[in-house]
Subunit: 336 residues, 2 copies
């Protein structure tokens, strides 16, 4: 992972700037416990990948002197939007842990968690509006707000599909459809908003959107892999929970399509069974690996990330473009 050191240093630099903006934006929130609840997941960690995408898309397409200040309010808005969805999704999905800490509703109770999510959503708009006049025109803000509103509606619709969907087996095409609204959509919004501030050309915006779409697919597949074979202390999420929940992934699709006999029986015992024992889960994970389902998923992730990198070739050469390319490589190699 040593080759990613410069990338991760850059990611960290942007994250620090974004976090400071968010902390300032929520400084006056009262009562104090509402602020603590709203900041809970943000303080627990996270890579700030989406704001990073926003900032790099800006840098990769701007023709002016590079100073990332103009894009920070919008990068922060993207992160706030992401956190708003996490807080509410965790309630809807009854998830107890995230980023290695108890989720907001577990720590603060469901009422305050709903309210904290709503506050974060309102702060998304406050963040964008705060940069008008100073960093971008009211016209650019209008495009950004349209993008953010559009993706918010998409995320709500996707979440509802998730709630209402029959669990377990999905086809690969259905899987890619889910990932597009669930993961890619916000990454696409992130790069587009950054590009709007740079007043990028339509061709550049399209190239970045394609990049973000496939980055999202690769990211989600790797996330699914880590959900099965990751180390809880590193990922912050209990291993096996995805299997117990019967979360629809390419891995499960592959495994259930190929498992026969005793392999099939052990999978059926665990998948979609919240009370499956740790021992059975461990057995199921071994079965999945023996069936080659992890390798299959990793291959799909690599293909998607290759396509993400290809899309970048439409952009002029720049340090920012290189970082975005490195990020695609990192997404494949990451262990958390």
């Amino acid at each position: 992972m040593r080759r990613f050191k410069p990338l991760l240093r850059d990611v960290g630099r942007v994250a620090k700037r974004v976090d400071r903006f968010i902390t300032d934006l929520l400084r006056d929130v009262k009562p104090r416990l509402l602020r603590t609840a709203a900041l809970h997941l943000i303080r627990a960690g996270g890579k700030r990948l989406r704001p990073y995408l926003c900032v790099k898309a800006f840098e990769a397409t701007t023709r002016r002197f590079i100073n990332i200040e103009p894009v920070i309010p919008v990068a922060a808005a993207i992160e706030l939007l992401h956190n708003f969805t996490l807080v509410h999704d965790d309630i809807m999905d009854q998830s107890d842990m995230r980023r290695g800490v108890p989720t907001v509703h577990i720590k603060f109770g469901t009422p305050l968690a709903i309210d904290a999510g709503d506050l974060l959503f309102a702060k998304v708009y406050e963040a964008v509006l705060s940069g008008v006049g100073r960093y971008y025109s009211v016209h650019v803000a209008h495009r950004i707000l349209q993008e953010i509103t559009h993706v918010s509606v998409t995320l709500c619709q996707g979440q509802a599909e998730d709630i209402l969907r029959e669990k377990t087996l999905v086809s690969p095409s259905e899987y890619f459809h889910i990932v597009e609204w669930k993961t890619s959509s916000l990454m696409i919004a992130a790069v587009r908003c950054g590009a709007y501030i740079a007043r990028a050309s339509k061709a550049d915006i399209d190239a970045l959107s394609t990049y973000a779409k496939f980055l999202g697919v690769g990211f989600q597949i790797v996330d699914d892999i880590l959900g099965v074979i990751g180390v809880q202390e590193v990922t912050g999420k209990p291993v096996g929970d995805d299997l117990r929940a019967g979360k629809p992934t390419l891995i499960l699709y592959h495994a259930l399509s190929h498992a026969k006999g005793s392999a099939r029986r052990i999978l059926e015992k665990v998948v979609g069974n919240p009370s499956a024992s740790d021992r059975d889960v461990k057995c199921a994970i071994e079965t999945i690996m023996q069936l080659g389902s992890i390798d299959y998923a990793r291959k799909q992730a690599r293909d998607a990330l290759d396509r993400a990198k290809q899309a970048l070739s439409e952009l002029r050469e720049s340090d920012a473009r290189q970082r975005l390319s490195d990020l695609a490589d990192f997404v494949l190699e990451r262990t958390y």
Copy 2:
């Protein structure tokens, strides 16, 4: 109530136009059940008072030919925002009934209700953005979005205070503080947004804001009264629930400040006791009436509504101004 017939006809006319806009705005929402959940409370009724305030504020301050089309997207946004808060507040407060029907989370489950609320919130912004260029400039939209975002943050903060507050007795000054964020704030936002579209003067905007502030106070006090002595079939909310919940009202403040002996005992048996019997609740209501607490609250409502009407004298004479004045009278006399 015959004198309010022209007012109520006008309210109904605006409501119809706003409802059509909202239905159109949500037409393509998928899955279907998410749309049904999001529209559930809107379809259940409601007076559309807040959009009406928005429309009348526009009419009372515009200098151009009066056509209410330009203000409909924003009036609808105000109603969507109101409904978003109702859906989420009902989950947080564990309310089972509203507008005579089961609340959204009771009917559709908490996960879909949270999601439907989020969707309504996103649609608030979509509604406002949809009118840009056609009905108002991007600059006017910017002011409206600032107003809406500001009030959203206020409502979230107020809701958190509500969740965390010690129940029962509050002082009148604390009560007025609560009402200001809980009821007045959105009414103030409604009139201001309408006035922004009319490009009203600062003096007119200030007068309308004062009107809306006191209208909200009067409205809330009457709401509290109906929560104690209203008829469930008319109000749509179970009578006595406010007492059982220990909801802080001027009525309770007055009653608990004056009750002695057996009157005090019966109040203490019911207030803040979710499992109080219907018989004890009935007894408590009678006690409250005998103590003059309803009369006291009604007097406070009348005073607030008088101040609301006084504020209108700053505006030029118009039919719209007269309607706003009539609305203040109606708020005092309403039984639902």
